[in-house]
């Protein structure tokens, strides 16, 4: 049942040390503000699940919040490496990082199966490659009708999903538009959830009969954080800041410059730091 709270209250209430946490958003609506709040609250030993770890997990890994990563593509999209992720895997810095590696198809199916209340997902995949040799969670089931061998993986059932969306109403119904990714599935697959939104409105606006809405009784904490996806984007509010993604390459390459950036922009700031991005680009769009 949805509760509208501050972001710090939401993270304090929903995300605990040792939890399995899925911050989702497929390039769009990535919950950057929530990621920063988790870092500020000093969460440890997290198992992070996410198709594309991206800057949010690079930051959490570099800050030492993460024990294990479950993922399918760990890069800075269109730019190159995630340096903090690489430093952890290649050099064990700031500490050793356990990894469970999948393909996108597997991850998407695992969320879908989790949302469907199933213990596993089956799909046609992982044929001939080496991933099944390094990931014991990849098994096979045989179709009882055709004899075809299909890939099987456990469904994702995180302790908590964290997503960003365009808007919620005061009851906590959450509406998402644009590139949908696996956010709806991540929330439905998880025990708890935190949803940050650009705005909270009295009533959801006039919308398609088949709008993507998470009803309030499927959602946990809802917190209004305008700009909370920056430098990712919120369709209809502000665009992706591709320059920042490029700039991140230099910031994160070096351990000291990474720490300096995190101190200035995360540890010494609050969720309100994101508001400037929302305002700037919304104004520009109008």
């Amino acid at each position: 049942m949805a509760r509208i709270t501050s972001l710090s209250e939401a993270i304090a209430g929903a995300v605990h040390d040792g939890d399995t946490v899925a911050l989702e958003g497929f390039t769009h609506l990535i919950p950057h503000a929530a990621c920063h709040e988790i870092i500020r609250q000093g969460r440890k030993d997290l198992t992070l699940v996410r198709m594309t770890p991206d800057l949010v997990y690079d930051q959490m890994i570099g800050m030492g919040c993460v024990k294990k990563l479950v993922f399918s593509w760990g890069g800075n999209p269109g730019v190159g490496s995630l340096h903090r992720f690489r430093d952890a895997v290649e050099n064990g810095w700031p500490h050793k990082l356990e990894i469970e590696e999948h393909s996108h198809a597997a991850m998407a199916n695992a969320y879908e199966a989790g949302a469907s209340g199933l213990p596993c997902a089956i799909f046609r995949g992982y044929i001939g490659g080496d991933l099944p040799k390094v990931n014991a969670k990849i098994k096979r089931v045989t179709c009882p009708f055709t004899g075809e061998e299909l890939a099987a993986i456990p469904s994702h059932r995180p302790d908590v999903a964290v997503i960003h969306a365009q808007r919620a109403d005061r009851a906590g119904n959450v509406m998402i538009e644009g590139v949908l990714g696996v956010q709806k599935e991540a929330v439905l697959a998880s025990k708890r959830s935190v949803v940050t939104v650009e705005e909270i409105v009295d009533e959801l606006p006039e919308r398609s009969l088949n709008a993507v809405v998470l009803p309030h009784w499927t959602v946990g904490h809802v917190a209004m954080v305008p700009g909370g996806a920056f430098p990712s984007y919120a369709q209809g509010y502000y665009p992706r800041n591709n320059s920042f993604y490029k700039a991140w390459d230099d910031i994160a390459k070096d351990r000291d410059s990474f720490h300096a950036w995190m101190k200035t922009n995360v540890l010494d700031k609050g969720p309100d730091a994101f508001a400037q991005y929302a305002r700037k680009h919304k104004a520009a769009a109008e």
Binding site: F26, T27, H28, M51, T52, F71, S72, W73, G74, G75, P77, G78, V79, S81, L82, F85, R86, V89, E90, E101, S103, H104, A105, A108, N109, Y111, E112, F123, R124, G125, Y126, I127, G128, G129, D130, L131, V134, E148, E149, G178, V179, L180, G181, V182, K184, E185, Y233, Q235, P239, R240, N241, N242, S243, Y245, K246
Partner: protein, 256 residues
């Protein structure tokens, strides 16, 4: 002949392979440039699909990420990522998939996972993403990669996605019914599988490139088709459209 860079030749050679009625699963970078160049030149009705869920998108600038707002704004519609991988990719609805990688072998198997041992990597690469299933679910695969001895290798450190496996009918023996890599477009040449062995052999050499250059940049003994074409040089129009596309893209990304 216009002055152009080898990567421009590579993009243009790839774009030319695409047809108006193709349905393409487009990756970021070279594939995205090639597909949109095709769309802006000879294949205006080509269907471009990005794994973020955008169906039949017509971006005016190239996306930096696989899910830029531009892709969604110009799409016929946008579906969820589970639906993309279930109904669209696994459903067998994609004719052409694009792949690239850090390493490729002569059977066009690809590594985008790791250089060195998996447990003790020298370089940890991003990983497979959509590639393992793109490689087996799309009707055929075009690979775009600049050549070099460190990337065109005798043996992959890790097989992220399969091409023709160990050649011959080894791909079909795994139960895969799709064609796999039918073209490998590099900055020097175009390769295609030998009909029997399935080894990727050179079928067309870009203007001004020698067989020796190709061999020097390939980690296995390169085979050449009985008849090797010279790739037609980029036309002025192709270069104009490609450069204007990149210029538009750079302006847009700098502004954001």
């Amino acid at each position: 002949m216009a002055d152009y860079k080898p990567t421009e030749m590579m993009t243009i050679a790839a774009a030319r392979l695409l047809k108006n009625d193709d349905i393409c699963f487009v990756g970021i970078g070279q594939p995205s440039a090639a597909c949109n160049l095709a769309r802006l030149t000879h294949a205006p009705e080509i269907t471009l699909i990005y794994e973020s869920g955008t169906l039949a998108t017509k971006p005016t600038v190239l996306p930096l990420s696989i899910g830029d707002g531009e892709l969604c704004d110009t799409a016929l519609t946008t579906v969820s990522v589970p639906e993309m991988f279930r109904y669209w990719l696994q459903g067998g609805r994609i004719k052409v998939g694009f792949l690239g990688g850090a390493q490729i072998d002569k059977f066009a198997n690809l590594n985008t996972t790791v250089v060195g041992p998996y447990d003790k990597p020298k370089v940890r690469l991003p990983g497979g993403g959509g590639a393992p299933e793109i490689a087996t679910s799309c009707g055929e695969i075009f690979i775009i990669m600049a050549q070099g001895k460190r990337s065109f290798v005798e043996k992959l450190d890790f097989v992220t996605s399969i091409g023709h496996v160990s050649g011959g009918d080894s791909r079909q023996k795994l139960g895969v019914k799709t064609k796999g890599p039918t073209k490998l477009i590099t900055d020097l040449a175009v390769f295609a599988p030998d009909p029997q062995t399935k080894e990727m052999i050179v079928v067309s050499i870009h203007p001004g490139v020698t067989r020796e250059q190709i061999q020097e940049n390939t980690g296995w003994p390169v085979k050449f088709a009985a008849k090797v074409d010279e790739t037609p040089a980029p036309t002025a129009k192709e270069l104009d459209v490609l450069r204007e596309l990149h210029a538009r893209t750079n302006r847009a990304h700098a502004a954001a």
